[in-house]
């Protein structure tokens, strides 16, 4: 039992890493814009597709493909911001309007990819080097799991440092906490929004590569469930709170895998149900998530 649990925990940590990176993207964009970027899952999907095309069709080295995925996601996020959100924000549209637009953008991207590349599942390119397994007692640890986990920890530390210590990060926190005052202090909020989209989308691209490495498949609808779960993770961690989102991602990922692993197999199809039950329980106990949300709530949504 002990080995089994350890094995499941290792699996869980790679899924938690994927969700954590997505959650950070959600939380950053929410913090700056006060907007749920519903299309974040689709940005994630675009990253996986870029890597697939570069490596499988154009035979570039895998590392270049992975960097391309991050770049592709970032470009997709920036285009989304430029073409959909900025016009809405410029016209001072209500938050709900922008949310509906982001809902539309999400379906637009998903069905655009479905239209051109069909709904078929494809194999994500995994370099042979990564297939190595290490055995530690009764536990098999894939090199992939180690890479995923280490990358996530490194990237998250970098993001945390970026938010905490750089000038841009401080400005982002300022806009997130109180946009009007931050603007009065001479912070260009458009630049901050662009930065938040760039960082969040790049994280989604990294997360997409990790997803591909871990599951080995991609299709146009792949962004939906991880996107939603990443969003849940962001809410669980207190929306707008970057370290909270990281912890929330691990919490949801680990909880989900352990739910499937520890309960009888008959219950395993209920996995999505478990995530929502967990969310409801957490929101019941602490309606703003586990950690302090880094946003002001007055005037939001007209309430």
């Amino acid at each position: 039992m002990g080995w089994y649990l350890a094995q499941q925990l290792i699996n869980a940590f790679s899924y938690g890493s994927i969700l954590g990176l997505l959650a950070v993207g959600y939380t950053m964009i929410y913090g700056i814009l006060g907007l749920i970027n519903f299309a974040h899952g689709e940005i994630f999907m675009i990253g996986a597709f870029v890597c697939f095309f570069l490596v499988t069709l154009y035979h570039v080295p895998w590392v270049v493909g992975a960097l391309g995925a991050v770049a592709g996601s970032t470009v997709a996020g920036l285009l989304l911001e430029r073409l959909v959100y900025r016009p809405c924000v410029k016209r001072k549209a209500p938050v709900l309007t922008v949310f509906i637009a982001s809902f539309g953008a999400s379906l637009l991207l998903r069905f655009l990819f479905m239209m051109f590349f069909t709904d078929r599942r494809r194999a994500f390119p995994i370099p042979e080097l990564f297939e190595k397994m290490y055995f530690l007692g009764g536990v098999a640890i894939g090199l992939r799991d180690i890479i995923i986990f280490v990358t996530t920890i490194v990237i998250m530390s970098l993001v945390a440092c970026f938010i905490k210590y750089t000038k841009l990060g401080t400005a982002m926190r300022g806009v997130s906490y109180d946009a009007k005052t931050a603007q009065l202090m001479g912070i260009n909020s458009t630049r901050i929004i662009v930065a938040a989209f760039a960082v969040g989308s790049a994280l989604a691209g990294i997360s997409a590569i990790e997803y591909g490495l871990s599951f080995g498949i991609l299709n146009p609808a792949m962004g939906f469930m991880p996107g939603l779960e990443g969003f849940i993770a962001a809410v669980v961690g207190g929306i707008g709170n970057v370290p909270g989102a990281m912890i929330g991602g691990f919490l949801i990922g680990v909880g989900e895998i352990l739910f499937v692993a520890l309960l009888p197999p008959a219950l395993s199809p209920l996995r999505p149900l478990f995530v929502w039950a967990l969310l409801f329980v957490i929101l019941f106990l602490k309606p703003t998530g586990i950690f302090r949300p880094n946003v002001k709530f007055e005037g939001l949504w007209g309430e």
């Binding site: 809405c88 539309g104 637009l108 949504w301």
Partner: protein, 351 residues
């Protein structure tokens, strides 16, 4: 004097009723297959839009959970009306439900009632949440319902779905219920309830200061909205004749939201206009999506084209006209009697 006025009103009313019935009769005798389907789907979508607008537009609780509510209503009515032979062959139901053979109307009402109960049970805990938290919880209602539909195989036959559901839906039912719904929502907006809903939608704190019990009226709003939406789901399943756990998933929810957003939320005519635009557009674009030959040039099938176009329209409307095409303007008798002539006169005078 008053009796004369009343007689005039009754006469006018019967004239309009006759015109509407005549038009429906004309539609029923002339339309077949695809075109009939488009007209029926428009009616059903309009009913659903009106139901959703009660909660999402008037009371301003932006819920995406109505897909799950429709799903449970559709399952209720299909289980109540399925042939007993089919139920005993494919499903494993309790005896009373297996032998149930309800006529259409009671099954429809039962579907509405189950939808109401289910929505109240699910939404009550979510009322503690606000803004984006509520939206997330309401998406959860959809996911939970879909998941139950997939996993409760003895009742729903899982992802394989149910077939052989009797085709009860026709033009008379759909448009009868649509006109009833329009009348009901119109009356609702002029009643104590409707005014309380709109007050909550405009400013929740102000409404509570004015002595409106916000949570109670939000629940009333959900009861009314879910009942209408549930009836819409039941009509849909009796039109399609088959049921599947994924039918009312987020893509469907998105289409309804797009209808409301494009038509103009906050009015009855906006909801109906939106339903008309999206339904006719999606149905007429279907042949394009399935591929066709144009002057010897073969256009390949583009699955998903409809959703892409709807999403594009929605984004453009949200950017350039966020209040929807009609905005807060309600099309009524005054439109034809006063507003259009006045506008025409103004144009003429300017010339």
């Amino acid at each position: 004097m008053t009796s004369g006025k009343n007689a005039l009103r009754i006469g006018k009313f019967s004239l309009w009723l006759a015109i509407v019935i005549g038009a429906l009769l004309l539609l029923e005798t002339n339309l077949r297959g695809f075109h009939l389907g488009v007209v029926l789907l428009f009616g059903i979508n309009a009913i659903v839009c009106l139901g959703v607008s009660v909660t999402n537009s008037y009371t301003n609780i932006f819920s995406l959970g109505f897909g799950g509510i429709m799903l449970i209503a559709a399952y209720t009515t299909s289980l109540l009306t399925l042939p007993v032979r089919y139920k005993s062959a494919f499903l494993d139901l309790p005896l009373w439900l297996e032998n149930a053979q309800w006529p259409f109307v009671p099954a429809l009402i039962a579907a509405g009632v189950v939808a109401v109960l289910c929505s109240v049970v699910l939404v009550l805990p979510a009322f503690r949440l606000r803004g984006h938290y509520f939206i997330l919880a309401s998406i959860g209602i959809n996911m939970v319902m879909t998941n139950i539909g997939i996993n409760l195989r003895s009742w729903t036959h899982g992802p394989l779905g149910i077939r052989n559901i009797p085709f009860y839906t026709n033009i008379w039912w759909v448009y009868g219920i649509l006109f009833l719904t329009i009348f009901f929502v119109w009356k609702l907006l002029r009643s104590k309830f409707g005014r309380a809903f709109v007050a909550i939608g405009k400013d929740q704190i102000l409404a509570s200061v004015l002595g409106i019990n916000v949570v109670r009226y939000k629940i009333y709003s959900f009861i009314i909205g879910s009942f209408i939406v549930g009836i819409g789901g039941a009509l849909w399943v009796h039109y399609i004749g088959a049921m599947h756990p994924h039918v009312f998933e987020l893509v469907f929810v998105f289409q309804v939201i797009a209808m409301l957003a494009i038509g103009g939320s906050g009015t009855i005519s906006g909801a109906i206009l939106g339903a008309a635009i999206i339904t006719f557009f999606t149905q007429l674009a279907r042949p394009v999506q399935e591929g066709f030959t144009l002057f010897g040039l073969e256009i390949p099938p583009l699955i998903g084209l409809i959703q892409v176009l709807v999403a594009m329209i929605l984004i453009l409307v949200m950017i350039y006209r966020p209040q929807g095409l009609l905005g807060r303007y309600e099309i009524s008798w005054a439109t034809f009697r006063e507003h259009i002539p006045a506008a025409l006169r103004k144009i003429r005078e300017e010339k």
